[in-house]
Symmetry: D2
Subunit: 394 residues, 4 copies
């Protein structure tokens, strides 16, 4: 009703919230069922079964009714007991942020931190676990989105499992966009959400909880129950014969269900491949245009997000505003320590399409040119991205 | 993709989740914007302004990103400090339930409880506050949905304010369906949600927080911050120039915004009137059909929910299943102490239409007849409801 | 943008346009594809295959891009040649209306007409065909909606086929709501549309054309081609490898496809049964309430529409306006000769649900009471409808 | 339900059907109202008022219930009487096509034809009208989409009006995307549709009919009435108090209404400007990439469609298939004489955004490179398009 100043952008190429697939948007407009209606109970069970299927787990998943910060805070609150020493692995802002929650619940927080354009190594983790045998729980942010870098979570997971510790993996912006599964990275609590690579709106957390984690939670007298922060409350909710602790977000469940159908229909390999190709083309284009990636090496750059280092002297917020005005494209800024230093191009779900890399490269390069940066070559950038796309088809 | 056993019901006449208005369903399918996109920031601010408008408050509201159990738990966690004595007013299952949260955070929980088909009186509250001057906070469930009864919250609020205590009002299933506003009931924290009388999907909490409550929260060292349970984190979020503590539920905000437009366009008086008329017709019909209301008197029966006492010997769950199969209608069961004893007909948002009272009366009466209950008169029931509707038009 | 005087009704219980199934509304909001995109070509072919499946025909159907008046005018224009004598069977306004088109194209129009509350008999048709061996084409309106009566089209079709004449059947408001198939009624051109019992918006015609009819059309030098009125132009369009004569109505095709999925999933027998039960309950209720059916006998009353005779002295338009204002329900008026004499309750697609018969009976009865008509018994009406519904479940 | 071979493309950059604006897709999913419901009558009248507003006419428009081929055939059938000599101006396939309809109804068809990459001139028309004073009606296709060229319709219209003849303008793919109004081009019948630059699905025709044209139609004894081809039947339909000749396409009207709101809100100047800029950037890019426009000069190239000449030896159908597979982009082919010789990039409604020119240029250039064409420079093409976009912002 009220007059708007800003019209919607044409392309939302962010790192989340990302735009949803058209079929997901349609699912959101399904009539809202009563949560205890048998049709909804059946739906909820079916959706859980699909989450399990995409997780490749035998244990049922847990869906929490809030975006993944809920899943992560709940994981900390549930798993970390008063006497636990926690090792938090930090390669970026989000990894660092988890430390605050871990510290709230733990006896001691130990951190292993690398510069925010690098990633952790399994060796360093192994060393630390040897040095500190009292560490009970390890936490890691798989893809630290504000840096666009991906930790080698499978190798680190193997080390943690080998050492008999529990592992919390924040795979929010990685799962669904690259090859990662809760059990292949030995996660005891694996947190993701439908709003990144699955192409849903924000509003839910998806968790895998290992048998060992369930035992640890059960043994933790301070693990939340009768609370929005409780994981246990929802343990049985996958089962249509069991009650919900409170009303699930009906419409978000519809959206998730539709997104899982799309994911399963397309096939995870195909989905991962288009995320990888989009990112690869984007990185080639960015560099050919005369720009730098934020990531210290291409090997650690995320297939779901390309963080572009912004040249000194450029106001990054103004850059994005100018790109939005010129090209109708919205990118993500950095966060905290990376704020102002990089611009992030999301390749997630519906935007993980190689063609988007062309306009992303053109827009960033064009925006910087307009800001007076010298030595930018739009044409070379787009041509390089095109070459990557072309080679993939050959 | 998977084969369904249950098809959707035709009419969801529950007490929440309720079905959404068609315009709300369409709003849910809007493209998902990046939360920091200026168009979304503007939208979020506009939606907050509309919440304030329907609340008739000058202070900005707080929207929390989870259904109202989050709002209620957050209210308890934020307002109730370690040394507080809390008086919880109990006239039903939900009021009782709040006591568990209050007890978790308070020094002492005092309860004033009435049978679950009656309501509290302002006098009893005044007496208790006199008896226990150490009570700092009073909490009340305005409309205790599992009983379908409405406490005189304006009078009780006046007593509490007069006595200088703080008041938490759970008006989740009342606001928007009857004359109640945060400030007319002297609420310091007023919690409602869009999924009842506003006709949205579940997924958000709407709060009014008084100046006194903000001060109390600020003074409470244990009030959650950097948490899903924090109210303070979201205090400034109404302002487009301020950051979000975490990603808001974009699509649910769209839905809320559309629902508020509908509410404002129709006018609160008109909305309240159709809730009242639907309930009145329903009560008349239920009684004329030979059935009993659960509420001890019609005066305390809710305009947003009619709880029908189910005759002894009838399996209430089977009754609802049979009504769903026969008539395609879903009603709500009781909860906890009222489970099995009553069936609830919702009159909320899109279902607060007098015509729905006709099929509600017919279906309950017909279902009970089919279950072998004697003395039920479907025709008399519907005719009585029709008379109420007819008189309203005259 | 502009201010509306009228808000949408709550229940559209008309004889068409009828409201669409929720899944159909969602299908309408699918992205619009280019008609020659392979995904749309595949979709169009698949939709045609489903039409053939619900038609139980081996020949491919023809979809015309306009509501069924297009299908009917095109049938007349294509099949009826300059030298043809046409027998038009008339039992109501729509049957009569077809005669105008027939007369436009035919050498001579012969009509067999019965009062508009009765239906034709196969014997009368047989007699006429014997009397007039020069009749080449017979046309009939299966369910003459403005009367709510159903002609015995299978028997009449057998007579026409036996006599070696061609038959045009207007089954627009019958197909999908009762047992009728193009070939079981020996139709040479069978016209229906998705906007009645299939629960779609108006905008398409669905035709079956027999081999004999295709030959007749091919032999008719005046049969339209390169025209919106051409059936032949679309003969091959079911085949994804063939071009469209002009752009098909992409969104309407999506809607049709979704509706056919629903129809096939539910099963035609189940769909027909709920149309029949809704109408039966409605007729029982109308009569028990003290009202009269328009149809001369219940045996000829349509399962997809109940036409209620309106007592003398009642302004039927005002009655419907008052019903809309009071109950939020929209019914259909009569048309032409039946206008003002009857009100029609649709039982089509999503509204062919027994529970709707309750509010239909209550609303008509209540509206007439409010108009001052004596001897109306709302309660008895609804109770009688309830009994019919109850018996069906037993 | 059925398994699909083709998934939807990512970008539909065709010349129609074009994809619809998101708000239009949502409008399509509004509940389907009864056409005689007062809320729909009011809606229909309001939509007509908006068409008149965007047409800048005082006379009410006519909406026909079928895509613009209906509007064009109806224009020919209604306006052209048996004794009329018609001058059909031909600069492309669609203009030529209209001649078939004109010839069907006219006494004589005269054609003035130019090569299909050129356009007509007002002088040539003036000459012809002088030479043949018996010409009563002139017809012209404003933007002959299969060529992507735009006739100077305002100048030609002035000549025709000056000469006292009637003019039929097919502005289907021009109106809404460039500066053209029914009366500024002196059209007596002006035909357009919502499926091109207004961003709606196909299914309706929008007509302006001058007073002189109404008189001519009234005087034409063969002008269709009681027919899908009748314009007169719908003359009064804009008025909510008048009946519809048959059921309007309810959902398409909703879509049109939403599209008109968008158009009016954005402002025609702004809409036209983004069509022009997108096309300009696209043309610059195409040429800088080493390709040729189909249009003989840039001055006559359409702002709503860029037709790219395809080098000899390239299989144009395979080229588009390869572009779809590689980049997820769908373009339009040529038609009839232009088929195989050019590929068309649509800039219509939601796709008339400069950023789309980048991927269009890249995709065509990349597709041709992949097909082995030498001398293509993707980077130079995109850079040139970027320069045009950049200059527009300066």
């Amino acid at each position: 009703m009220s007059r708007r100043t800003y019209s919607d952008p044409i392309f939302t190429l962010t790192t989340g919230p990302v735009d949803a697939y058209p079929a997901v948007l349609r699912a959101l407009s399904r009539p809202v069922l009563y949560d205890y209606d048998p049709a909804f109970l059946e739906q909820y069970e079916a959706t859980n079964a699909k989450v399990r299927q995409v997780f490749h787990t035998t244990a049922p998943p847990v869906i929490l009714q809030g975006e993944p910060v809920l899943g992560l805070e709940a994981a900390a609150a549930s798993l970390i007991a008063k006497n636990d020493v926690v090792l938090n692995l930090v390669s970026g802002v989000y990894g660092k942020g988890f430390g605050f929650w871990a510290a709230r619940y733990a006896k001691e927080l130990v951190e292993l931190e690398v510069p925010y354009n690098e990633v952790l190594t399994a060796d360093a983790v192994a060393d630390m676990l040897k040095k500190r045998p009292d560490i009970a729980i390890v936490s890691i942010c798989h893809h630290d989105t504000p840096s666009g870098t991906v930790n080698p979570v499978a190798q680190i997971g193997a080390v943690v499992r080998e050492a008999g510790r529990l592992l919390i993996v924040d795979s929010v912006s990685a799962f669904g966009g690259m090859e990662v599964l809760p059990e292949t990275c030995c996660a005891d609590i694996f947190v993701t959400g439908p709003n990144k690579c699955l192409g849903c709106p924000p509003g839910l957390s998806l968790l895998h909880v290992s048998e060992a984690a369930w035992e640890k939670i059960a043994a933790n007298p301070d693990a939340p129950t009768a609370s929005i922060l409780s994981i246990s409350d929802w343990k049985q909710a996958f089962d249509a014969s069991q009650p919900f602790p409170f009303t699930p977000s009906v419409s978000e469940i519809y959206a998730l269900d539709a997104a899982l159908d799309l994911y399963l229909e397309e096939g995870e390999q195909a989905v991962w491949a288009r995320h990888a190709l989009t990112a690869k083309a984007c990185r080639a284009g960015i560099q050919a245009a005369g720009l730098r990636l934020w990531a210290a090496s291409e090997a650690i750059a995320s297939p779901t997000c390309t963080a572009v280092a912004i040249p000194d002297g450029v106001d990054e917020a103004k850059l994005r505003a100018s790109i939005r005005a010129r090209y109708g494209i919205v990118f993500s800024s950095g966060r905290a320590e990376t704020l102002g230093k990089l611009t992030r191009i999301g390749h997630m779900g519906p935007t993980a399409r190689p063609t988007y890399s062309l306009i992303s490269v053109a827009a960033i390069a064009g925006g910087l040119q307009a800001a007076g940066v010298k030595g930018i070559d739009v044409g070379a950038g787009v041509a390089a991205a095109m070459t990557v796309i072309g080679e993939a088809q050959a």
